[in-house]
Symmetry: C2
Subunit: 252 residues, 2 copies
Amino acid sequence: MVSKALGKYVHSLHQKKYRNRHGAFLVEGGKSVLELLSSDLEAEQLLATPEFAAQYQAQLPSRVPLTLATEQELTQLGTLATNTTALAIARLPAPADLPPTLPTTGLLLALDEVRDPGNLGTLLRLADWYGLPGVVLSPGCADAYAPKTVAASMGAFARVQVWERDLAAWLPTLPTDVPIYGADLAGDNVHALRLQPAGVLVMGSESHGLTPAVTEALTRRLHIPRGPAGRAESLNVAISAAILLDNFFRNQ
Amino acid sequence: MVSKALGKYVHSLHQKKYRNRHGAFLVEGGKSVLELLSSDLEAEQLLATPEFAAQYQAQLPSRVPLTLATEQELTQLGTLATNTTALAIARLPAPADLPPTLPTTGLLLALDEVRDPGNLGTLLRLADWYGLPGVVLSPGCADAYAPKTVAASMGAFARVQVWERDLAAWLPTLPTDVPIYGADLAGDNVHALRLQPAGVLVMGSESHGLTPAVTEALTRRLHIPRGPAGRAESLNVAISAAILLDNFFRNQ
């Protein structure tokens, strides 16, 4: 039975304003909840069906309050079309410093005004697949802890480190030997390069590409060749990032 | 002013049943409408704001009835959160035969139960970027002419040829020298191959991968290497297809 107060709290976390006020965010669906519980993030409360609670009893930490709920209640509380298993409230991670060895020793993905939470979640999943040390978000990006981002990340929200930086201010402070890559139709053909995964790869917004100040900070522009008979004008930002990352990691 | 009958007709096309009954589908937003008008598809009716109609007068064919509408009317008629410019009703293309030279002379993308219209639209956009001769959909795929598919395809709906085939029945009828590729975690590392864009590349559903009968028809399984520190279990279907297609087209 979900109390009125708990229901109100969960609903408030649909909105960024209240996520920031409470320092918490929602994790919806059994698979994502299990990813949360096996990660370093802190779970604050769990809501689950009796069936889920019984099946995963061993994975549910006793220090986290558990409320049993019906499928209908879970679906009403959350943002998914249906949620038949579980929902968690997790603590937002405290803002962390960027390790001083980065991005010299690894490739950071930096996102410039990527506003669609589905794209952001897919990009986090990609960063998780390639084991990137983290993702830097400009202030205009979608919220990394919005329900749609969390869902699209398929568990990556619990593993990928995220920092927020004003890219136009941050990129110029990097050591001059750190390569800063960006996608550009007039850039170098990635197939002709032997890229190594260190430095920063900046991806721009879905509709406007990179902002001018960020473009200026690039040290190398990369171009994904279109097929010889290809006609599309552009690729989705997550699709472009995937192709570029495969090109960075193929020479290892 | 949009008549009640026209409004009802447009609304009915939100649903596949009525798209098939009327042989028509919706194209929403100015950019997609202009892609439609510059393609081989047949436009049946146009609805646009007076501003859009004035600005693109030269591109609006006189044989297609034009109804002027307000932004509010367009948004109410369509499925987008806002539509500030135009909406078209287009004729569904007649089912076409697969050219007999395919897939020997080019690479076809075949989709096995890809149910999410956003993923399908992104895959059509990708097929358009690489200039593939077309995409083969299993009957369980999302509708290629659903509003969400059309929107996500970013104009590719108007250029990419689509066929529907029962893949488990169709794949075994192909000549034995036609390679049939599929993604598989236990497959060959794509980075170690020199793939050529001919044959069929089959991509499976978001949650279940390839169906068993389709898996049996594969002649070569391909594996996208994960980063050395990577942890995600899998990639989104459109992301995987993008990385594989870049690997097919890099050896040209």
